[in-house]
Symmetry: D2
Subunit: 401 residues, 4 copies
C-alpha cells in the first residue's frame, strides 16, 4: 500500500473525524430505516448513492492507493477511520472498504500485474465494480482447513480451465470478477499447489447460485453458491505465481482480519453507546438503570472489551506496517480476542436494553446478529487458537506440535 505521494495522503485523525460526521448524517438514517438489511435498503442502488455521497464528503476509499483516488492510509492510520465507518453497518460499503472488496484491493495492489491493475484493481478501487473472493467450498473441500481445496485448474491450450464448487462466497451476486482459489498441484490436505485466478463475471461455465440464508443481512451480494464448470481463463488471469496461492492468501488474510476488527469495533461501539444512552434515560426500582451496579458492571466490561480489542488491533497493525514476522501471532491474537469480545459487547448491550434490546427499536439487535459470524468467518476462533498455541510452544519450548 506504500506510495511515494505521501504529501497527498489525508491526515488520519482528520479523516476519521470527517468519516464520523458523514456516517452519522448520511449513512445511519438508511441503516436505521432498513434495520441494517442492505437488500431491503436498495442493494446496488443504495451502494451507488452512498458511495457518491462519500466521494462528495471526501471520505471515499481511505485505503486505496492515492493514484487511484484513495487516501493511501497504512494499517495503523486506517484503524480509526474504518472504526468510524463501521459505526454504521452500511458505512464500510459507503466508503468502499467493505469485505471482500477491501481485501481484494489490498491483494491486487500487492500482487497484480500492470495489466491486472488496470483491468481489475482500478474499477474496484474506484467503486465502479464489485468483486468476490472464492475460496470456501462445501465439505469435504476447503473450509476452516483451506488445504482441503478441491476446485481444480488444469492447463489448456488457451490458459487454464477451472472446475469446482464454492459456497459462502460473499458479494458474489453482482460481482464484476472473482478471485478464485484452485488447485494446480499437490493433493487435498497438502500445504502447496494452490493458484489464484481472476475470473470475470459472465465467463462461460461460471454460475452464481442461491444465497445461503445466513443470519447477517448487511453484506451486499449475499453469501452465495458459485460453481465453475470448465471455466477457461487466459494465462494473464493467473494472479501472482502458479502454485503460490496459499502464500498469497496469507498476504490477503492478515490485513483483512484486522480491517474486519476495525469495522466491527465501530459496530460494537455503536451497540454500546446506544445501550448507555438507553440506560441513562430509564428508571427502574427507583433509580436510573445506569446507576444500578449490575448494569454498571456490563457497561464497564464493554468499555474494557472495546479498549482491549483496539489496543490489540493497533499492536497488530504496527507489526503489519513494519513487515514484522510477529504479525502472524499478533493478528491471530487480535482477531480471536476481538471476535469474541465485540460479540460480548453486543450481547451485554442487548441485555441491558431489555425487551427493546431484542427488537428493531434500537440498533443493538441488528449489530448482535451481524457480529456473531465474525467468530467463524476468516478463521474460526478454534483454528486461530490452535495456531497461536503452536507458535507459543515453538517459541518457548522449541518444540513442534
Amino acid at each position: 500500500m506504500a506510495t511515494a505521494e505521501t504529501a497527498q495522503r489525508a491526515d488520519p485523525a482528520e479523516l476519521a473525524a470527517r468519516t464520523r460526521e458523514f456516517v452519522r448524517e448520511v449513512v445511519l438514517p438508511l441503516d436505521d430505516e432498513y434495520d441494517g438489511d442492505i437488500a431491503a435498503a436498495g442493494g446496488e442502488g443504495a451502494r451507488v448513492r452512498l458511495q457518491d455521497a462519500a466521494r462528495d464528503a471526501g471520505v471515499f476509499a481511505p485505503h486505496a492507493p492515492v493514484e487511484l483516488g484513495g487516501h493511501g492510509l497504512g494499517m495503523t492510520d486506517r484503524a480509526a477511520v474504518f472504526e468510524e465507518a463501521g459505526y454504521s453497518l452500511f458505512g464500510p460499503l459507503a466508503l468502499n472498504i467493505a469485505a471482500p472488496d477491501e481485501g481484494n484491493v489490498h491483494l491486487l495492489a500487492e500482487v497484480a500485474t500492470a495489466a491486472q491493475r488496470q483491468e481489475f484493481l482500478t474499477p474496484l478501487a474506484l467503486g465502479t465494480q464489485r468483486s468476490a473472493f472464492a475460496m470456501t467450498e462445501p465439505a469435504p473441500g476447503a473450509g476452516s482447513d483451506p488445504s482441503a481445496l478441491l476446485t481444480r485448474a488444469v492447463r489448456v491450450s488457451d490458459g487454464w480451465s477451472i472446475s469446482g464448487r464454492k459456497w459462502f462466497i460473499t458479494g458474489a451476486d453482482g460481482a464484476g470478477f472473482f478471485i478464485v482459489m484452485a488447485r494446480t498441484g499437490g493433493e487435498p490436505g497438502g500445504p502447496d499447489g494452490a493458484t489464484m485466478f481472476v475470473v470475470p463475471a459472465g465467463s462461460p461455465g461460471l454460475t452464481v447460485g442461491r444465497h445461503l440464508d445466513t443470519v447477517d443481512r448487511s453484506m451486499i451480494g449475499g453469501h452465495c453458491e458459485v460453481t465453475f464448470e470448465d471455466v477457461v481463463v487466459p494465462q494473464d488471469n493467473v494472479l501472482g505465481a502458479v502454485d503460490e496461492g496459499f502464500r498469497y492468501a496469507q498476504v490477503r488474510l492478515g490485513p483483512a482480519r484486522m480491517t474486519h476488527v476495525m469495522r466491527w469495533l465501530g459496530a460494537a461501539r455503536r451497540a454500546h453507546e446506544s445501550a448507555v444512552q438507553h440506560v441513562s434515560g430509564r428508571d427502574a426500582f427507583g433509580a436510573t438503570l445506569a446507576s444500578l451496579g449490575m448494569v454498571q458492571q456490563q457497561i464497564a466490561d464493554n468499555e474494557i472489551d472495546l479498549a482491549a480489542s483496539r489496543a490489540l488491533l493497533l499492536r497488530a497493525c504496527a507489526d503489519l506496517d513494519a513487515g514484522d514476522r510477529a504479525a502472524s501471532q499478533s493478528t491471530s491474537i487480535a482477531k480471536t480476542f476481538a471476535a469474541e469480545a465485540l460479540f460480548r459487547v453486543a450481547d451485554r448491550s442487548m441485555q441491558i436494553c431489555g425487551g427493546l434490546g431484542v427488537s428493531a427499536e434500537l440498533p443493538v439487535a441488528r449489530i448482535h446478529r451481524e457480529l456473531r459470524p465474525f467468530r467463524i468467518y476468516d478463521g474460526p476462533s478454534e483454528v486461530h487458537r490452535w495456531a497461536i498455541a503452536r507458535r507459543a510452544v515453538r517459541r518457548v519450548a522449541g518444540a513442534r506440535v
Copy 2:
C-alpha cells in the same frame, strides 16, 4: 393443577416418548421447512393443523386438567414432556403448551371462578381459543420492575374501565381474550394495588397495534402493542380479588418460568445434537471434527450445561409441586441459570458447525435466535440475581438489603 382423577393421567415417561416421536415425525418437518418462522409456516392455520395432529397422537395438552381433556401432569411430571415438545420450535404450539397460553391455563385453573373457567379456561385448554397476558408497558411503566404499572382501572357503574398502553404482548394478534394487569390502587412504584382483569378481544376501546420486530419468529401472534382506551368490563371479569394482582402474577410466573425452561431445554438439546451429528461427520486437518480437543470441550460443556439446567429445573419443580416456599429461590435460580446456559449451548453449537451454523442449513442458527430473549423475558437475569442475593442475605445474615 391437582385432580382426583389420577387414574386417567398419562404415564409421564410414556407420554414423553410419544411426544418425542410425534415431534420428530409431524412437527420438525414444518419447523425446518420454514426456518422456525410460524407466520411463514401458515400462522393460525398451521396452529390448527398441528394441534389436530397432536390430538390424534394423544399428546395434546399434557398440562391441562383431565376434565378439560388434558393429561393433568404436575410440574415434575411435565418436565420431560415439555422438553420433548420444545425440541421443535413449533412443538409447544402443537401441544397447546406454548407461552402465554400455557401459563394462562395454569393461572385460570388456580384463580378463576366457575363462570370464568367455563368462558375462558375451557376454550383455552381445548385449543379453540388463544390468549395473551398484558402486563408489560413502555417506559416509564411496568417493565423489569412490575410495580411501575401505569395502566389504570377505575370503577364505573357497570364494572371497571381500563385505560393504558401495553407492549411486547406475546400472542396478542389473534388472541380471544387478554388477562390485563391494571392499577386499582396504590401508586406506581408501590408493591400493592394491581388487579387482573379478563378482557375479551373486540371489546370497544381495545386495539391491537403493530408487532414489535423482535429477533424471534416462532411465537404465534407476535409481540404487539395493545392499547386500552376506556375499555369497560363487568365486575365478573375481575380475576381473583381486587388489588391482589401482583400476588397472582407470582402464582403465574413461578411455574411459567419453569415451563419456559422445559421448552428451551428441548430446543437447546436439538441445537446440541445437530451440532454433534455435524461434527461427527466432518473432517478437517486430517481428523473428524468431533475428535478435536477444542470441539470436544464445547460438546462436553454443552452436556454439562444441559444436565445442570435440567437438574436445577427438577429441583424447582419438586418445590413447586410440594408448595414449598423455597420455590421462590429455586425457580429464580433455575430460570437464571438455564436462560444463560441454554444460550451458551446454542452458541457453542453454532460455533462448532462453522459457516453452516450461522445459516438456515442447520436448525442451530434459528434456535440461537429464538433463545436469546429468554435471558430478558420473564424477568431479566439481573432482576433475578438481585432477588436471589437479597434472599441469601436474609437467610444467612438475617439482614434486609
Copy 3:
C-alpha cells in the same frame, strides 16, 4: 453399601442436622485456630480427639456398614451429611469420611474377601487405622492417564513382588496400609493388566518419602512419594481378581468423586456464608456492601453455583444408588462442574471480602487454597470433558472418537 439392617440406619436428615451442630461446636474452632492446617493442629493426635468427639456425638462414620459401627448411608442419603461435615476443613477427618479412607472403605466393602475385611476394612471403618491409595506415578507413569501405569508386580514363590515409584499419595505418612495399583500384565498405555494389592505399612522395601509441598494443608498424612522395591505380599493380599485393577478403580472412583463433591460443597458454602455475613455488616460508599449491585451479583452467582453443584450431585448419586450405567456420565458431569463452580464460589467470596478475604482473618482464603486442586485431583477437568464428549458423540451420532 446396602445392608439388611436398615432399621439401625440413621435418619439422614436428622444425622445431617446433628453433624451440622457437631461441626460448628467442636470442629470449626480447631479449624479456625490453625487456619485449616492439620499438621499445625496436631496431626494424628488431633485426628484421634476429633474422632472420639464424633463418636460421642453419634455422627461417626455415616458411610460405613452398620455392622462395623457406621450408619450405612447410601450415596443419596449421605450427601447432606457429608456436606455438613465438609463445612469445616477438618470435619471429614472427624467423621472418618476424609479421602482416601472413605473411598477405600467403599472399595473394600465392595471387593474385599472376608479375611481382608477383617484385617483391613474393620480397623479403617472404626478409625483405628488410616490408609492410602497408591496409583499416581511420576512421568512417564500413571498420571491423568492411568493406563500409563509403570509399577509392576511379578509372581514369586510366596505371592507377588511389587516394584515401582508413586507420588502424590495422599495420607501416606502414617497410613496403616496401602492399596497399590501395579501392572501384572499388558503394556503401559494399554487398557488392561492392572491389579490391586493391599500392602501393610512397614513391609520391607516400602518407603514413604518426602511430602510434596502442595498448596493444600488440611489432608492428614500429606501427599507423599512412596517407593516399592521388591515389596513382597502374599496372594491373599490381591484385592479382587488379578488384572482387574482398572475396573475396580472405577468402582472406587465414581463414588469417591461424588463424596469429594459433597465435602467441597460444604467448604464452599462456608466460604459463601462467611462472605455474605461479612458484606452484610460492612459499609462503603454510603451503603452496606451487601446492597451494592456488583456484590449482589457475586452473591447470586454463588447461590446458583452451589445449587447447581448440589443438583448435579444428587442426580449422579441417584444413578449410583440405582446401579445405572448412566452414572459414568452423570458423575463425570457433576465432578467437572462442581470442581469449577465451587472454586468460583470461593474466589467470589474472597473478592467481596476484600483485603480480609486474602488473609487468615476469615476462613475464605484457606478454603480457596484447599479447593483449587480439586479441578486436578481425581481426574483433571480436561480428562473428564474428553470422556463426556466421547460419550455424547457415541450416544447422539453412534460414532467413536
Copy 4:
C-alpha cells in the same frame, strides 16, 4: 519523572535485556529455592545482597531520577524492564522497584520539597531505606472507599499530632518512614480534607504491630497493623499542601497501578512459560500434552491474555507520559483487565501442569498465590468498574450517576 539529562538515560530495550539476564542468573535461583517466600529467603539481608548485585549489573533503579542514580525511565519505557524484573517474585525488590517503595519514589519526586527529597527520597531511591504507604484502615475506616478515612491529624504547637489505626500496610516492618494519610478536615465519607504526612520510623506513639497472615509471601516487611497514638511531626513533614491528600493519592495511584501490572505481567509470563515447557515435555494418552486441543486452548488463551494486558498497559502508559486526562480511564481499564487476566493465566498454567501445578515443584503455584490479591489491592475490580462505568455514562450520555 522527567529529567533534562536524557543523554544519560539507559536505552530501554537494552536495559530490559540486561534485566532479563540478571533476573534469570541471579534472582530466580533464590526465588525457586525459597518458593518465593522473602522472609524464608533472608528478608532484609536478602534484599541488600540482591540490590548490590543489581547495582553491579547496572540494572538498579530503572525508574529513579538520573541524579539519584536511577535510569530515569518514563512509564512507557519502563514497562518492558519492570516486566522482566517481575519474571521473578524477588526481581522487583532486587531492582528497588517493588511496591510500595517504587510508588513512593514517584510520589516524592512529584511533590516533595527539596529538604524532603534530601531526607526521604534520596535514601529510598538509593535503596538504603525502605518505606511504607499508610492509607488503609480497618472498618469502618478507609478501605475500598478511601473517603471513609478516620485517622486524624490535628495542629499542635510544634506541628501536627496524628492518631489512628492502619492495617494491611505493606512493608511496614522495617520501613524507615511512613507516608501517612490522615484527615485534617472534612468528614468521613466526604471527598476532601485528607493530608499526607511523612512519619519517620521510631517516632514516639508509632507502633508497627502484627503481620496480617495473607496468602502472599513475596513482599518484604509484610502487611502490618500500624497504630498512631498522638504521633507528633513538624510542619515540614507535611507532604504537599494540607487537605490535598486525596489528590496526591491519585498522583501516586495511577502510575502505581501500572507498575503493578508491569511486574505481575512478568510473573504471569513465567507461570505460562513454565507450563508450556512442562506440557511440551510430557506425554499422555499417546501424545505430547502440548498437542492436545484442550491444552492448546489454554496456552492460546494465556497468550491472548498476556498480549491484551500488555497492550492495554502500554496504552495507559502513553496517556500517563503525555499527561492526558484519558489516563484516568485507561489506567482503570488496564488495571482491572490485567488483574483478572493475569490470574487467569496463572490459573490455566496451574491446570495444565496437573499435580505439579499445585505443588512447589514448579513456580506456578507460588505465582498463582501471589497474583490473586492484585484483584483486590490498589482498588478492587468492582470499584474500578464502578468508576469506568460512570465515566462512560458521562462521556456517552452526558449524565452523572
